[in-house]
């Protein structure tokens, strides 16, 4: 394609990069949370472990929300379209 203009706007590049980084962090956060919830359900964590993991996940979620706000992203913006495989993150997840 020769008609599409290449935009090398500094802000756009940084925003796109932040979006990609935040998307990957969000993926890891969701995976960790899912793993933690499964282990809680199975009951193989001590109460102290549950408390520590829960706090960590909660702080991570808060921090994610802050970063999203700073860069003006909605939760649904942090996702990648993998074409025929669908989206990287489940659409309804917060």
């Amino acid at each position: 394609m020769t008609t599409r203009r290449v935009e090398l706007d500094q802000d756009t590049v940084e925003r796109d990069l932040m979006k990609l980084v935040l998307t990957l962090i969000e993926l890891l956060r969701q995976l960790m949370e899912r793993q933690a919830l499964r282990r809680v359900d199975q009951g193989d964590l001590s109460e102290e472990q549950e408390e520590r993991i829960g706090l960590t996940l909660m702080l991570l979620a808060d921090r994610m929300a802050e970063l999203r706000d700073r860069y003006g992203f909605e939760p649904g913006d942090l996702n990648l379209d993998l074409g025929p495989l669908g989206p990287l993150l489940p659409p309804a997840d917060r």
Binding site: M1, T3, E33, R34, A36, L37, V40, D41, E47, E50, E51, R52, I53, G54, L55, T56, L57, M58, A61, D62, A65, D81, P91, A92, D93, R94
Partner: protein, 284 residues
């Protein structure tokens, strides 16, 4: 280009195939006594190419736009594509309303070298084309999409109060676990409901075709597209089908869903599987 006489005139763009007796004359006209032919994707008069008991609804288009290589370039140009798709559909609609027993619509940009190669295709696929015309005779296509309704806004996440059974971290985990189970429950319910809707509609349809759900980021709808289906319906069953859709439209909000109906269309989704080659140019 292979240097034959038709090459200078360009390529032959095929819109649809119909039964010979359904479309009289040399050109496709909006009505039997209308003097001016319908115009096609390149503004050309749409011709009727007869072979055996079939007729191809076709137009001569410039090779500079529709030969394989320029065509691939054009297909990435959304404005060009929108214009061509619109005109393509207009020709098919015109042919469909002129032909008593319906037409077999072809996909966008089905192109032949010349009349001879188009006739060759009509001969080679005669049996399949005739069968498809018979199957689609007297049918229309309805499109049904099911979307999730935007859910109730979740209240802002607040720091959970430590309860008797543990600290803030454990309370957070419990709440997320409950939310996740609720989400999964909702998703399962929606899946069941979509399956019920599809089964109910399929019962009054001849055939169904499931398309990939639309990417919600490209759609104007706030919800997610869970079902994107086409239903082939006999004209005689039309009112039964649309009544069934109306019933589903009314039930859907109780499941957190929204049902959208489009049509009636010429049965594109059911013709594509029986006609023509997978790629645009063929039979050179």
């Amino acid at each position: 280009m292979n240097g034959n006489a038709d090459a200078a005139a360009g390529l032959l763009y095929l819109y649809a195939v119909a039964r010979d007796t359904d479309l009289p004359g040399r050109h496709l006209t909006p009505s039997p006594h209308h003097p001016r032919p319908v115009t096609g994707v390149a503004g050309e008069p749409v011709e009727l190419v007869r072979h055996l008991d079939l007729v191809g609804v076709a137009g001569r288009v410039p090779a500079a736009d529709f030969d394989e290589e320029p065509l691939h370039r054009h297909l990435e140009d959304l404005d060009w594509l929108a214009t061509v798709a619109h005109r393509h559909q207009a020709v098919i609609e015109a042919a469909s309303s002129a032909a008593a027993t319906g037409v077999l619509p072809l996909r966008l940009a089905t192109v032949y070298r010349d009349e001879e190669s188009l006739r060759r295709m009509l001969r080679a696929r005669h049996e399949a084309l005739t069968a498809a015309l018979g199957r689609l005779d007297g049918t229309v296509e309805w499109g049904v999409k099911v979307y999730t309704l935007p859910g109730p806004e979740k209240e802002e996440r607040t720091t959970p109060a430590p309860s008797a059974s543990g600290g803030v971290g454990r309370a957070y985990l419990r709440r997320r676990g409950a939310e996740r189970r609720a989400d999964e429950h909702r998703a399962r319910q929606a899946d069941d409901a979509v399956r019920q809707i599809h089964t109910a509609l399929a019962a009054s349809a001849e055939d169904t075709h499931l398309h990939a759900p639309q990417n919600s980021r490209l759609s104007t709808h706030p919800g997610h597209n869970l079902l994107n289906a086409s239903y082939l319906v006999r004209r005689d069953d039309d009112s039964a089908f649309t009544a069934e859709v109306r019933a589903q439209v009314e039930r859907a909000p109780a499941w957190g869903l929204m049902v959208e109906l489009t049509g009636p269309w010429v049965p594109y989704s059911f013709a594509a599987t029986t006609t023509g080659p997978a790629d645009g140019t063929d039979d050179r």
